[in-house]
């Protein structure tokens, strides 16, 4: 059954589509969960022969692809860190109206053992990546930790690069201003030196052509000694 999803009835329509999808795959709806932490984290729960399946719905909004990807990554990391000790066998992330440029890689989901389902604006639901059954074991926890570290590390690197770029742009701007200021100063000094050397030559009648005296800035610097 296709139906155009409007903004007003987004969440309930989506939920309905998702419920239908899971029922068609022989899941049973779980209407209430005792554990308070996970009820806040997920939107829907189902059960099959393998155990409890939790579903989190993310609606694609008008944020940039980078920001959207960050949001999805953060959600996955949060899910992984929250459910490590809980009896949840599978987790699905449902992205509504996805832009594929904002999705993390397939490997990301596979390593997180989280399934990916997309729902288009026309209500078409597709399971893109199946969820893997989670084992509550030490290795699963360490996988989660490792993934967190990888994501965190990548995020840090991107941040550092962005900051560096910003600083370089500022530095370049300062350098350009400094060069322009130096140009102006050199022009001023040349003008002053020309005036003063004319004055200095007027004081003397001796035509010295000694190389170490010609164009020597120290003549000017030292002549000012008593005036400083």
């Amino acid at each position: 059954m296709l139906k155009i999803i409007t903004r007003m009835n987004l969440t309930s329509e989506i939920k309905s589509i998702i419920v239908q999808h899971f029922i068609s795959k022989n899941y049973k709806v779980v209407s209430s969960i005792d554990h308070k932490g996970i009820t806040g984290l997920f939107d829907l729960f189902f059960r099959d022969s393998e155990g409890l399946t939790a579903v989190k719905i993310i609606e694609e909004q008008s944020a940039s692809p980078v920001k959207m990807r960050e949001k999805i990554e953060n959600t996955v990391v949060k899910i992984i860190s929250s459910i490590s000790n809980l009896n949840i066998s599978k987790v699905y992330l449902v992205i509504v109206r996805p832009r594929f440029s904002s999705l993390p890689s397939v490997r990301f989901f596979e390593e997180a053992r989280i399934g990916l389902i997309t729902v288009s604006s026309s209500g078409e639901i597709v399971e893109r990546i199946p969820a893997k059954v989670r084992c509550r074991s030490v290795s699963m926890e360490s996988n989660a930790n490792e993934l967190m570290l990888i994501v965190g590390d990548l995020r840090t690197k991107i941040y550092v690069l962005e900051e560096r770029l910003k600083r370089n742009e500022e530095l370049l701007k300062k350098l350009v201003e400094k060069v322009e200021e130096l140009d102006r100063k050199i022009l001023r000094i040349n003008n002053i030196s020309r005036e003063e050397s004319i004055g200095f030559e007027e004081k003397t009648t001796i035509n010295e052509t000694l190389e170490f005296l010609e164009d020597n800035p120290w003549l000017n610097v030292l002549s000012r000694r008593s005036r400083e």
Partner: protein
């Protein structure tokens, strides 16, 4: 005649080097005599008077005429300066300084009526103590009493004179002489509390050269100071990278092989397969901390001793690039980039050239220092002083011409004219 015109005409410069005294009025270049004197007798001798010799101390070119006159020459031939310093209480040394100073004025005193004394700028080592300033002023005032040749005198540090001759107002001057190497940052004035002195110089290069001659089997030549110095100057090379230079020299013996022949004689030293040792002679000036020198220090060759700057110990073996960086660090931080833009190397220890065909491993001193600084991630412009023999003297002449007559000597600033009629 205005004062400025008078100073321009009668500017006079003096460079008190450890080995040579350079002096004279404004000209293309100075006169040069050895900084030494010989006491021909302990007292006034009637024999000397008969021969018209009224002094008991001789300086200048005539010294060599008297060298055979005493069997105990070492006692009477006085070299007054060591590493730019005269010992405070060494009256014989001060007597020589007096005589060489007077020698210059006697040679150049004009006869014209308008002449009322020179404006004299004398240059001393950057670390010359105050007593040396006092004695130099005293010497000049005494000579003026005798000859009426010193209207005013001032004293400047030699590195400042180099900077003046190089026409550079902001720079670091690195002066390397026989006994020490001084690093002086300058920004219109010498920045005195940033001066770093390393207790090493040509003497260290002489020492390693002597060891090399011993290794080559020339123990007798190793004991002759003059031979060692000449050999050092002729065969020494500065390596860009010592380890790489030695490796290449050992791989390609023919390219680096050298036979040193003493001019005018049949004496020759063939370095053979030890020609790679040429690089040790240059390297020891720039980096005596290289591990290759440890075996020589263990053998008894003197390790350069440490100095203290502002309460901080400076290793005598500190690589030259590191010492330059340390000196600049003692200056205001905003000055550092300007100082690194102009580093001037002055002194005989920087004069080794690059022989044709060895450009891949041997460099000049400026390139070596530049590389040392680059290895410390410092981009610097390094150059050799244009006229290392006379640059100090030239700087003193510019100083005499330019400094106003009414700028009087101040002991705090250590600048200004010490004037007849005011100070003496």
């Amino acid at each position: 005649m205005s004062v400025d015109i008078y100073r321009r005409k009668y500017a006079y410069g003096e460079d008190y080097g450890t080995s040579y005294f350079k002096f004279g009025p404004i000209a293309e270049k100075p006169e040069v005599i050895e900084n030494r004197g010989i006491f021909v007798s302990d007292d006034e001798s009637i024999v000397l008077k008969i021969f018209g010799i009224s002094k008991n101390i001789i300086v200048g070119p005539k010294v060599s005429l008297y060298l055979g006159s005493r069997s105990d020459i070492a006692r009477y031939l006085i070299y007054p300066m060591k590493d730019g310093r005269v010992e405070r209480a060494n009256e014989r040394a001060w007597r020589v300084i007096y005589e060489i100073t007077k020698f210059g004025f006697e040679k150049f005193k004009p006869s014209g009526k308008e002449f009322d004394g020179f404006y004299v700028t004398a240059a001393l080592s950057a670390t010359a103590p105050d007593y040396m300033y006092e004695r130099i002023f005293d010497i000049h005032s005494k000579i003026d009493e005798e000859l009426n040749v010193v209207k005013a005198v001032t004293i400047i540090p030699q590195p400042l004179a180099v900077a003046i001759a190089q026409k550079t107002v902001t720079c670091v001057v690195v002066e390397s002489g026989h006994g020490n190497t001084q690093i002086t940052p300058i920004s219109m004035y010498p920045i005195r509390n940033a001066i770093v002195t390393l207790n090493r110089g040509g003497a260290e290069a002489d020492a390693i050269t002597a060891e090399i001659l011993r290794d080559l089997g020339y123990e007798d030549r190793a004991r002759e100071e003059k031979f060692v110095r000449t050999f050092k100057e002729q065969v020494g090379l500065i390596p860009l990278d010592l380890d790489e230079a030695i490796r290449r020299a050992k791989e390609d013996l023919e390219r680096f092989h050298v036979v040193y022949r003493v001019p005018g004689t049949r004496i020759e030293i063939d370095m053979g397969d030890k020609s790679w040792m040429r690089f040790l002679i240059g390297e020891i000036i720039f980096n005596p901390e290289h591990e290759i020198f440890e075996s020589y220090y263990n053998r008894g060759m003197s390790r350069p001793s440490d100095t203290v700057v502002g309460g901080e110990r400076i290793r005598g073996t500190m690589p030259l690039g590191e010492a330059i960086e340390r000196s600049v660090n003692y200056t205001p931080i905003e000055l550092a980039p300007s100082l690194f833009k102009k580093i001037i190397l002055s002194g005989g220890n920087f004069s080794w050239k690059v022989p044709q065909g060895l450009e891949d491993v041997a460099v000049d001193a400026a390139t070596k220092v530049r590389k040392q600084l680059r290895d410390m991630e410092i981009q610097a412009h390094v150059e050799l002083a244009r006229d290392p023999m006379y640059s100090v003297w030239k700087g003193t002449i510019v100083y005499s011409i330019a400094v106003p007559d009414d700028y009087l000597w101040d002991w705090k600033r250590k600048e200004g004219w010490y004037k007849r009629g005011v100070h003496y």
